[in-house]
Amino acid sequence: MYEPDNRVNSEIEKLTQIYYREAYQHESFIRVSLRKKEHLVGCCLLLSCRLLNWPISMATISSLLDADPMVMGMLYIEMVKILNIEAPIVNITDVMEAHSHDYQISSLHAPEELSESHKDLTKRAVELVELSADTWIVTGRRPIPIMMAAIYLSWQSLKPNKHRLKLSLEKFCQLAKVNKHKPAIKRITEMKEMLCKLGQEIPWVREAVTPDNVVKHVEDILKHRHALLRRALRAQEDALLAERQASCEDLPIKEDADNHQLHGETLKSQDPEPNWGKRVLFAPPCVVQAKKSRVEQPELTDVTGDEEISDSEIDAYIRTPQEVREFALSQKMLE
């Protein structure tokens, strides 16, 4: 069922068969379509792999079965609930090695200046993913675009020469013969931003670390990430403290200004509560770039549910006889 180097062991095969037999005979699945039963095989395989610590993603199994990952996913959740099994989740760093093998970037497949050994690539990508996980880039996100972003940045940083730095993600995927995942571009941006925050703390780097030049510092950042995290945290704390002190000093002045303005309240005081994500060093991107929440409708307060309902209000929802005639006519015409 797999290419030889992806073959699961016999223990997993046996367990898959056991679960499949159990699921197949269950009343929830006995009458489902043949296609769904094929998906069920994939679900049982995924479950067995997870229970026996064989790192494999749902996406991989779905692609092998040529199935929609969402459909398979929903079936998997249903099956796990019905069979009453607790399966651990797969750690993204465990899947990384298998995933990186998909990239045909070794010296056998790519020109010398662009090729990279899988071992080095995987090692660096795993470190990058671990750091991304620590800094809130991974939680809640789909793993494959993250892995793609990590592999791309790792590949660039292993030999940060002109050729590699110029190669876009799209070209890199073409070179490595993998399908590009669009969200990977956003993950790359997020990872670079995170790396810049740490890169800025490297004492021997004099230039400003920006997303354009951060790749060449990735090796140092990963090597000294603990210390850099510490320094960055401390710098953030100091900055916040300074900001607080400054705002405390400003307060009396601000009060005077407010007194002079009767209607001119500054926008700041009318702003909704400040985003906590912007006040910390690292936060989940969905918090930092929070979408504008829907404007709340004016709430009905003190409703008892037993209020008098006026006739006029209800009449507003009922068509006049003429409207009824016109509507009936229009329906007839549409038919």
């Binding site: 998997y76 906590w276 060093l281 009824v324």
Partner: protein
Amino acid sequence: MYHCCAACIFNLKKSTHTPFGAMTPGMSIFSPMMPYGSGLTPQPVQNTNSLAILEEQQRQQQQQQAQQANAGLPGTSGQTPQLYHSQAVAGSTTTALPGNTPLYGTPLTPMTPVTPATPASESSGIVPQLQNIVSTVNLGCKLDLKTIALRARNAEYNPKRFAAVIMRIREPRTTALIFSSGKMVCTGAKSEEQSRLAARKYARVVQKLGFPAKFLDFKIQNMVGSCDVKFPIRLEGLVLTHQQFSSYEPELFPGLIYRMIKPRIVLLIFVSGKVVLTGAKVRAEIYEAFENIYPILKGFRKTT
């Protein structure tokens, strides 16, 4: 009876640790023996996230006024914290950074007028806000949906797509599904009272259209609430330590689905700290579920 570990259960090594407190080194919190008390009400667990460890150590260093070490840089040696060791950090993981503690200056969501059984605001200080109420009522007579769709302004009816009239009113802003059997579903209200008022208005519309509609067996079927704990949550950690209640599949959905048993509520927990609670028949269940989950979430709180 709650026990914090297998050792405690078997009355072994009592002196080496306090329940739910600092754990003996070497005992991984990911040990399968990690108990969950009665199994019904979730128990908080300590966090081992690397940034939390770093931050805790930093705070301790500051408190002790230790020299800030530039450890780990070339040419120096020093203590490098082990990022992925499973050793728990003693004590609570309260933050040192200002503005991150929900207890300070976070405006509470305004409470709608409720019965005296309000949630214990002394615990989390956060009140979930109700977002949606689903209720049903029996109008007690058969209905001709074609007539309703013809004569009501606010109705839509596509029998090929769905066998019910979809009706909407402006106040309370809600939607109703009206079936030919006379049964009706009302959705979108923000409180039980609003849902009842809305259902009554729909019944009045149906009455005015000439049907002998009554208002029988009104029942709240589902309540949905949401709130924001205002700190990020390590979903991977939560699913590991509360496996029997949790489902977290980032390939499918970004949130963690937590099925609480007591009360029987489903929570969607997101990395942003936003929580959605659903499945309640009464609002007290939503509040109770949140008060149960809050200490657990605090255990997975990371402030950087």
